[in-house]
Symmetry: C2
Subunit: 279 residues, 2 copies
């Protein structure tokens, strides 16, 4: 994390900023969040991220204590104050705030933090050669809301890394869902298929689906089986801090001959071309 952060209305030194031990976000994992990246040091898809944050908050009986303009202004200030060199990754966290009894919270005193850091750079190899996934049976609870609940994600991460996987793919009873921190697309006969239900609808996912359709690529948003995934021509991931990443292996199954395919490459090109300050 960078030296300065935003917490409950103030810009503070990150080293001295903290949440109370009775924060219900800490005691009960009760909160929601967003991760945003910049292009040209300007937050990308900010309106979509703020809208989702508000939706997540409402579901959890929380209120986002700042509007889009104020959030944008704070992000700009943090990017400048922290002298972000390349691009920024921004994390917005909203919890129920301090709790007197560890089970209730006062909606009027939430914990609202905005953290920035340099955007982690994925290696060129990731984009050029593609990545591997490992599969784990896991249906997230309240999947459509971006809650702090990443127990399974954090717990399965080390074993994924040991096995050389980029992310963990969650499946449930043979249905493909989503990955640790990304959404999944398959390509079959030039068309895209991506799950729609029981997952978090990523902002990059939504953006890429729309972008593909605008460029004449068919997109089906529907339940996707593991069998379809295994026999796909191509597979790729989308995520805020990963953009579009080709997948060339899922467990022991090579996808598309083990190399990124033409449709994935086209989507990656369309993605960066669509952004004024692209890579």
């Amino acid at each position: 994390m960078a030296s300065w952060c935003y917490l409950n209305g103030k810009i503070l030194e990150t080293a001295s900023a903290g949440v109370a031990l009775n924060d219900i976000g800490l005691l009960r994992g009760y909160g929601v969040f967003e991760v945003i990246r910049t292009f040209g040091k300007r937050p990308f898809l900010l309106a979509e991220h703020v809208a989702r944050l508000q939706k997540s908050a409402a579901f959890m009986n929380l209120t986002v204590p700042a509007g889009e303009d104020q959030i944008r202004h704070t992000i700009d200030e943090l990017i400048k104050k922290n002298a972000i060199a390349s691009e920024a990754q921004i994390r917005i966290v909203l919890t129920g705030g301090p709790s007197k009894d560890s089970i209730t919270f006062d909606p009027n005193t939430p914990t609202f933090a905005i953290l920035v850091s340099e955007l982690p750079q994925l290696s060129q190899e990731v984009f050029e050669k593609g990545v591997a996934l490992i599969v784990t049976e896991n249906q997230r609870q309240i999947p459509h809301i971006k809650t702090l609940d990443y127990l399974t994600a954090v717990r399965t991460w080390p074993s994924a890394k040991v096995r050389g996987a980029f992310e963990v793919l969650y499946t449930c009873d043979g249905t493909v869902l989503e990955c640790t921190t990304s959404n999944i697309f398959v390509v079959k006969n030039g068309a895209l298929v991506t799950p729609k239900e029981r997952i978090l609808l990523g902002t990059t996912r939504n953006y890429v689906a729309e972008l593909a359709q605008k460029n004449g690529i068919e997109v089906e948003e529907r339940a996707l089986s593991m069998q379809e995934l295994s026999s796909a021509d191509e597979v790729f991931l989308t995520a805020t801090n990963k953009d579009v990443v080709p997948v060339v292996r899922v467990d022991d199954t090579a996808i598309g001959g083990g190399e990124p395919g033409p449709t994935t490459k086209r989507i990656m090109k369309l993605f960066y071309e669509s952004i004024p300050y692209g890579r």
Copy 2:
């Protein structure tokens, strides 16, 4: 919370103690905990709580950075320093600690906190007249481990209170599981039945089950159907900070004629008699 707490090896003023904004307990809800009560200002079932904490920690690739003796010593110190007047409620929280990338943590730098407060006193009415539950379909993820994941618990709490319920009873496909922060027992023909799988095995639950058996009351630990619950002679809850509480209504169904029954009363009596410094 009381004025003084323990955090990462030090006794600190609670008001100035906090966790960093990049604590994985806060960012990802990644941690485990225990709640302990005292009798005669001495922690009750401490060995059992510490053993469970160690088990929870191990499952989450965490290590409890203190043994039972050190934890007991710290609890004693906090009870004295905070001048706890009646009995104490103790909360031990262990998270993965600070995270550099929001997904991994260093097992060598966990966040380990011990908080004490006056034990919340339930009204005499709760014990004498019994309480109501409302039912919600919910299977907790990783239910056998006491993780920080209480999203559904916190979210459903206000509506339970509006409806006059003491706790929310979780069920899954007609199977009775557990309540927000307690375990459930039913009494049928003088014998106890309590769920065993897909729940957190409470320390008070285990203690009461053993106590009942020692006193000639049969206890079956097995899957329990909603139908059995509805037609039970009596129902009661067990929890660290509630002891044994009679249940007289589940949603719209009166249990045992709407009054605490004889077996429940006997269990309550046996419970306090079994403790040297009981109520």
